[in-house]
Each structure stands twice: as C-alpha cells, then as structure tokens.
C-alpha cells in the first residue's frame, strides 16, 4: 500500500510540474491537447506488425521534454510502471503467432514477437505523450481544454473527479494500512480477515470522504465548471504548434521515414 501511495504522490508531482514556466507551458492547453491527440491517433493507427516506422515518433516526446525542461528520468520511471500491464496484454502474441516474418541471418523472428514489440513501443509512445501533456499543462487545464474543444461538460467534470478520487483513495488506503501495521505489532499481517475488512472500510471511507470534498467544493461556489487561473487564447503560436507537429506526424504516418531517408540517401549517391 505504501508503494501505491508513493506512486500516487509521484502523480501529483507530475501535476506540479505544470506550474513551471516555459514556452511550452505557456501555450494554450487546447493546442497541446490537439497535437497530443493527433500524435496518439497516428501512432495507434499503424498496422500491428509495424515497428521500424514507430521510432521516428520519439522525436515528439524528446523535443517537448527538452523544451519544457521536464525531468526525463522521472517521466521514464512513470512509463516503466506501466510495463507490467503491457506485458500482460502482449505476452500471448508470441505464443499464438508463430509465423516467421523476418529472418535476421540464422535468427527467425515470428510475427508474434514483432507485434509484441510494436505494442510495447506504442504504449510507451502514447502513455509518454499523455504524461508529458499533463506535465506541461496540468490535469485541470487538460479537462478544460477538452471541454472547450467540444467534449460535453459532464464528461470533463467526471474525468476531473476520477482523477481527484484516485488521490483520495490512495490517501485513505495508506492511512488505513498504516494503522493496521502499527497495531499488528510487527507480526506479518493479521490474516486475510482483517485485510478484507480493511478493504471494505477503505471503500466506505473513500466514498464518504469524496462526498465531503464534494460538499467543500459546492460550499465554495463550484457549479460544475473548473476555472483555470492561467488564461490563454488560441493565437498564432498555437496555430503554428498544431500545424507544425500535425504535419510532421501525418507525413511520418504515410511515409515510412526510415525508408524515406534511405531513398534520399541512395538518391544522392546514385
């Protein structure tokens, strides 16, 4: 439980990164959301056996991390947290899909392994892009941008609450498990019974606390709309940002960049 709490605290740190000041941070949230959406769409829309064409896309997270001065190691660790889930999703591919697609000398690589690697790379790219988006924008601003881009307000607010409640749940969880640990006097756990009652309590407490927080929000004039302090408008810079990156992504998507580079190079030398 303690480690979950730490992971969640780290998530909050991601939100805090959004308070930094950089050219990227100052861009209107809508521009960043749009670009991230195009990016994710392009990456996801590839054929399942595509691998090489995905690599040029790493330029987007790399450039943003550099420009926005985000801690790269921290982002990498966050993404690494996700790897176990990807493994679960992708691990059966090599078992079921044994048709050999590529021969690297004596090494025959089956389609399963390639699609597995492709899933992994795609997850890293999309999740990384989402984390970076939150890190340079802040979750509240992202939801607000989604709303201003046409997502129904109800969904935007739901999303925000979901995000807040992750924190509430983890805080309650760490408190309850600390109390249990302290009273178990160093004995390793008090059996499954105390644990299951702890989980039950946890859900109830989380629900009640979430309700009290909701009351506190209402008490402070919350009407279902989140206001961001940082006001911004969609200007020339934003347009350039969106058009520039989107063109790049779409170009990359429809031309295999590695191949393109190859033809250019051979073209020069022939």
């Amino acid at each position: 439980m303690a480690s979950i709490n730490k992971a969640v605290l780290d998530l909050k740190r991601l939100d805090l990164l959004a308070n930094n000041d950089s050219g990227i941070h100052r861009l209107d949230a809508r521009a960043k959301v749009l670009v991230t959406c195009v990016f994710i769409l392009c990456v996801v829309s590839y054929d399942r056996y595509e691998l090489a064409a995905l690599f040029p896309f790493f330029i987007f997270p790399a450039v943003l991390i550099a420009l926005a001065d985000l801690p790269p190691l921290f982002i990498a660790k966050k993404i690494a947290l996700l790897c176990p889930f990807v493994l679960v999703v992708g691990i059966f591919n090599p078992l079921f899909d044994r048709e050999v697609l590529v021969n690297l000398g004596p090494l025959a690589i089956s389609g399963g392994w390639i699609s597995f690697a492709s899933i992994l790379v795609r997850s890293i790219l999309t999740v990384g892009a989402a984390f970076i988006l939150v890190g340079v924008t802040g979750f509240t601003a992202v939801c607000q941008a989604l709303e201003r881009l046409g997502m129904p307000q109800v969904f935007a607010v739901q999303l925000l609450f979901l995000y807040r409640y992750i924190f509430v749940l983890s805080e309650e969880g760490s408190r309850a498990s600390r109390a249990r640990e302290l009273r178990s006097c160093g004995k390793k756990g008090l059996g499954i019974r105390s644990f299951s009652s702890l989980i039950g309590h946890l859900l109830l407490r989380t629900w009640q606390r979430a309700e009290r927080i909701h009351m506190a929000m209402l008490a402070r004039g919350f009407t279902g709309r989140f206001h961001a302090y940082r006001q911004s408008s969609f200007g020339k810079k934003e347009l350039l940002f969106v058009l520039g990156w989107s063109t790049l992504f779409i170009l990359l998507r429809f031309n295999n960049a590695s191949q393109l580079l190859g033809t250019v190079v051979t073209g020069i030398f022939s």
């Binding site: 605290l9 909050k12 939100d15 805090l16 959004a18 308070n19 802040g138 509240t140 807040r164 924190f167 805080e171 606390r209 009290r212 927080i213 009351m215 506190a216 929000m217 209402l218 008490a219 402070r220 004039g221 919350f222 009407t223 709309r225 206001h227 302090y229 006001q231």
Partner: protein, 268 residues
Amino acid sequence: MSHHIVEVKNLQHIYSDGTAALKDVSFIITHGESVGIIGANGAGKSTLLQHLNGSLEPTGGSIHIGHTPLSKGTLPDIRRTVGMVFQDPDDQLFMPTVFDDVAFGPLNLGYSPADVEQRVSEVLELVSAGHLRDKPPYHLSGGEKKRVAIATVLSMSPDILVMDEPTNGLDPFARRQLMALMRDFEHTRIFTSHDLDMVMELCDRVIVLHEGEVRADGPAEDIFSNDKLLAECRLEKPLSMQGCPVCGGGPARAPKPRSPHHHHHPHS
C-alpha cells in the same frame, strides 16, 4: 440579503444509520452577532453547522438565512453568503497547490485573474501562510492546513462565517492571530470549539448543545458561571474563570487576590 439573520426552527437530523444527531434545535442569530456553540463530543455541533450552508439536508424543521429559506433553488446564493470552515482541513483542500486551492472560490465567483491574484495574496497574508502558496496542500503540517482552509473561505468574503473548531491544532501564536482576525470580522460569526477560553473571549452569546438539543442559550458569562449546567453537559469553566492553580485564589479575571501571596507569579 442585507440582514444576515440565521434562523433555525425545530431542526432535526437523523443519519442514515438511524443516529438522531439533532433532535429539536431552534435559535435565531441576528446580524453581527458572535455566537459560540459548545457541547460534548458527539453533541451534534458539526452536524448542526453543516446544515447552515446546506451540506446536510434537515430531516425535519427549517433554516432561513436572511429571510431566504434554505432549499435547492436558493442554495448557490446561500453558499455565497455563508463561508464554512470544516472540522477536518483535509476535506477542504483538494487542488494541486495552496494558491490554486485558495483561488478556487474566487474563480468560481467570476473574479478576474488580477483580482484573484490580489485576493489570494491578501488572505494568505492574513493567516500568515504567504510562504506556502506554491506548496501542495498534502505536504503541509496540520496547523498549516487549517490556516490555508480558513484562507480558502475568507477569500470569498462571506457575510456569515461558520467555523467548526477553527483553533483546533493551531499553535498559540496562530490561535491568537485567528482570534484577532475573528474579532475584526464585522459580520455574523458562528463557531464551535472546545477551546472555552476562546469562546469566552470572542462570543457575546453561547449556545450549549447536549445530545442533539439546545440545553442553554444566553450570554457567555451566565452560561460559564452555571456550574450545574456545565457539569451536566460534560463541560467546564474556561481557565480564565477558574481559580489560580498555584494559590487556589479567585479567578484570574477578578483583579483582586484575596490575600498577598508568598509566591511569585503575576495575576493579570
């Protein structure tokens, strides 16, 4: 709502598990009054306060704020009028930084960013939490959280200030500061506290709750000199009205000690 009268009539509240937390509570608080609500643990103080801004719905009875009945339709207006500090500051702080949290209310009221900025800085100074503005609320100490929670409410300039145990967990200096702040607040103040000295100092009027009912309602001096009442309600005299612990002499508030002491401690 020019007259911020708070009128509670036959208020009842039964929690969903059947606990009757409030049985029959009635009182009227007029504009500018400073009222302390005291009572034992579980007497129903927090439950009562949470009705005043519609956080809890009464099972029976009614509440009027400035002649407006509290109902679904009037709730937004009433919540703007009544500023509420909850007992547990963790329930009140939910934004990523202290600044965002204090700015949440003013932004909802539609202030411009420049006004918000100014307002937030002002109230954070008032509770001397200016240095905390960029910290995340979950990294604060208990008393700091409390101070920020109070700032979040002050930032909305409420007409009626309702606080559930405001000085709980504050250090002596912060407690003094908050008391000065509450004395300067010119509108209606309603608060609960187990800090009876604070109640004695700040309140003209005290309401004693006992097992969900109003047991007594009157001037602070009268209530605190009624020993029988206090004992029945699991309360005691404020320290300032008790005898000197060293010499057993009269209350520190009474200026004249009965006889000269042989020991050295000033009675002010």
